[in-house]
């Protein structure tokens, strides 16, 4: 962890690696409502290389509300370490000013009130303005996309990712890695990649039949910038066929494969790399562990877990950068690379305040053009919300409560399950709910809402299994999502307990009775990874429910009791 100082020197090994993070410089300005685009973009160009990192935009091309998590529990060695710090603790750790724009951007505290003060965030037209400004400053700045890019909106679903591909190509991305891209199916991935003007990287993308590195996707690529030979190694999401339907990409296997990562780093170093960058979709804790095991990586551009950190985390001699999600932030990282070594850095996590940063006119026109054929469908108002709707957090968000309520009502089930994904925008009380807003939290290529029966015993197996994917103390056994969201069922979870001993006190909320291990319960859910899952699309289920109730007003959800913190 780097302490907040105007200028800091972190002596690493024999070199004097030093750096600055410039996030907090404008917090006082923003508290005084004087925030300007120039403040957000101000950066004293440093060294000889600039990296620009954006990741996990989940196809959100327009500005959104996005509430950061209230719960982000770290277990084992990462307990209390970023990114497992939220709210007031986060404000204290990074010395932010409560109520300032930066506190609004990075925490959930007073989200509604501050949202009304500081406005929406993101929008790829605003991102384009920031990228263009950085390139005006450093024309050969290298723009890298960490993946989870093509998926996550109604337009991306309808165009099979093409609208986002067109936008990212116009933005000038120079390499990317992947995760949800694969949920469009391997043939669609191949089709898009064939036309991409940049490489789609993954050293851990393997041919499933031969269990050998895939010859279809490069492990790494080269750039020469500022006289520096840069190798960018891709790391796709390791657990794609487990967390997502593997039958959509049966030719491929993934995994962490840190031994091969070491081989790739050694290979590019042997070929003269001055700077080794890993463009990763591992998730932050997996990257932190990988950086401690693999030597020779200068920078890991992390992704997947949607963390936004105003300063790099340093592991050994490796910088870990976390650039948030949904287009809410862009990272600029300037590096001083000399004699084949990274000697220093200057870093800024640039928050994309949609009301402060002017949209780039060309990108705005392109986005509107992509949306035009679907505009009426996207913007149709389905209902209104009187509650703050959000998803992000280890346990149920209000969006999930609404989705589970919709499943139980529309599918007539006792219990509902909703996947613990981290994508999806928020809505403020009073907001209209458009069809596009519903797709923001439900869009996927396997959204069928199933109705089935499960025994009480199997329900516990499900909760225990998912809990172990989040709270296993070894990051390599974590998949990076959040706990499956449950409607109609309460439980207690001890996050520090071992596998299969975390879940207790399972209760059917409608009767208050304990869940009977032997009884069958009628359960509805969506996002099954199994082929041939049947049911209506989840967004239609949610839309029908919202139409019936008209206005959404949710009671606080206290059905999950968390212990072992």
């Amino acid at each position: 962890m780097i302490s907040r100082r105007e200028f800091l020197q972190a002596s690493i090994a024999a070199s004097a690696l030093y750096g600055i993070s410039g996030f907090g410089n404008w917090s006082k300005l923003s508290a005084q409502q004087a925030l300007t685009q120039d403040d957000l973009l101000r950066f004293d160009t440093f060294g000889n290389v600039s990296l620009i990192h954006i990741t996990d935009i989940h196809a959100h091309l327009k500005p959104i509300w996005f509430r950061e998590p209230e719960w982000n529990i770290g277990v084992g060695g990462v307990k209390g370490k970023p990114p497992h710090v939220v709210g007031k603790d986060f404000i204290e750790m990074f010395n932010l000013t409560p109520g300032s724009a930066d506190a609004y951007a990075l925490t959930y505290v007073d989200f509604e009130a501050l949202g009304r003060t500081y406005g929406r965030m993101g929008g790829m037209d605003r991102v384009a303005t920031v990228v263009n400004a950085i390139r005006a400053d450093r024309p050969d700045a290298l723009l890298l996309d960490g993946g989870d890019t093509w998926h996550g909106s109604m337009t991306s679903y309808l165009t099979k990712g093409q609208d986002v591909v067109n936008v990212m190509n116009a933005l000038g991305v120079e390499a990317m890695t992947s995760h949800w891209e694969w949920t469009f199916g391997q043939d669609r991935v191949r089709e898009i990649v064939a036309d991409l003007p940049f490489p789609f990287l993954g050293q851990n993308i393997f041919d499933n039949e031969w269990n050998e590195p895939s010859e279809e996707f490069d492990p790494y690529t080269w750039f020469e910038r500022g006289g520096v030979k840069i190798a960018v190694i891709g790391q796709a999401f390791p657990y794609m066929p487990i967390a997502n339907p593997g039958w959509k990409f049966p030719d491929f296997s993934f995994g962490i494969r840190d031994q091969r990562m070491q081989e790739m780093v050694d290979e590019v170093r042997a070929q003269g790399a001055d700077l080794v960058v890993v463009l990763s979709h591992n998730g932050f804790d997996v990257d932190r562990q990988m950086a401690s095991r693999v030597t020779g990586i200068d920078v890991v551009l992390t992704g997947h877990t949607h963390d936004a950190l105003p300063e790099p985390v340093i592991v050994g001699e490796t910088l870990l950068i976390a650039s948030g999600s949904h287009g809410k932030f862009v990272t600029r990282l300037d590096l001083d690379v000399r004699d084949g070594r990274m000697m220093g850095f200057r870093h800024k996590l640039i928050p994309i305040f949609a009301d402060v940063i002017a949209p780039d006119p060309e990108m705005a026109a392109l986005i509107d053009n992509e949306r035009a054929p679907y505009k009426d469908q996207l913007e149709e108002v389905i209902g209104h919300t009187d509650s703050l709707l959000y998803r992000r957090g280890n346990f149920n968000g209000t969006w999930d409560d609404l989705i589970c309520e919709a499943i139980m009502e529309e599918r007539d089930t006792e219990i509902a399950m909703s996947p613990g994904v981290r994508w999806g925008a928020s809505l403020l009380p009073g907001d209209a709910i458009t069809r596009e807003d519903i797709h923001s939290v439900t869009s996927m290529t396997y959204g069928e809402c199933y109705r089935t029966e499960m025994t009480g015993d199997f329900l516990k197996v499900v909760l225990e299994d998912v809990a172990d994917n989040i709270f296993n103390p070894d990051p390599y056994f974590q998949q990076g999502g959040d706990m499956v969201r449950i409607g109609g069922l309460g439980y207690r979870v001890d996050v520090s307990a071992p596998v299969n001993q975390r879940i207790s006190d399972m209760t059917l909320l409608s009767t208050g009775e304990a869940i009977d291990p032997a009884r069958n319960y009628v359960v509805g859910g969506w996002a099954s990874v199994n082929p041939e899952t049947e049911g209506p699309q989840i967004w239609d289920v949610v839309e029908n429910h919202i139409r019936k109730i008209g206005r959404v007003a949710l009671e606080p959800n206290t059905s999950v009791q968390v212990t072992g913190l």
């Binding site: 999401f237 390791p238 487990i242 069928e448 199933y450 499960m454 999502g481 596998v499 990874v529 041939e532």
Partner: protein
């Protein structure tokens, strides 16, 4: 998510019944090792097992085992109802003492390899492989 892959069928209108695989007793694993070593002592180290941290498909998990200098390697899935998987033999002409195969794992468990070295000593390696019904990524 939510289904034990290849054994469960959610969303198909059928009841899902949890699979509770039988688990090999510790003695079954110990017996297999004793039968292989003839009761000789086994030291840890010198055997490298390559396996995914989490199996993508528990029915076909790629495993590789490497024990330089070994003449035989016994491979066991310690948590399967019957732990025996394979025994590899390496002749004098073998360039390496390395083998790769795919194995079926009924649940999260240790994969164990015992190597018989050319000097008659035995070495052991083990890795845990997690078999999960899946979470949901970010």
């Amino acid at each position: 998510m939510l289904t034990r892959r290849d054994t469960m069928a959610l969303g198909l209108g059928v009841a899902a019944v949890a699979m509770v695989p039988g688990v090999a007793s510790a003695s079954a694993v110990d017996d297999a090792i004793s039968a292989f070593t003839g009761g000789a002592s086994v030291t840890d180290g010198g055997v490298t097992i390559s396996a995914p941290e989490i199996a993508e498909n528990g029915n076909t998990v790629p495993i590789a085992v490497d024990a330089p200098g070994a003449t035989e390697i016994l491979l066991l899935a310690a948590g399967n109802p019957t732990p025996g998987v394979a025994k590899f033999g390496f002749g004098e002409g073998a360039a390496t003492s390395r083998a790769a195969t795919r194995i079926r794992l009924g649940g999260t468990q240790d994969v164990v390899a015992i190597a018989k070295m050319s000097d008659g000593s035995f070495a052991r390696g083990a890795v845990e492989v997690k078999v999960t019904i899946g979470g949901c990524g970010g």
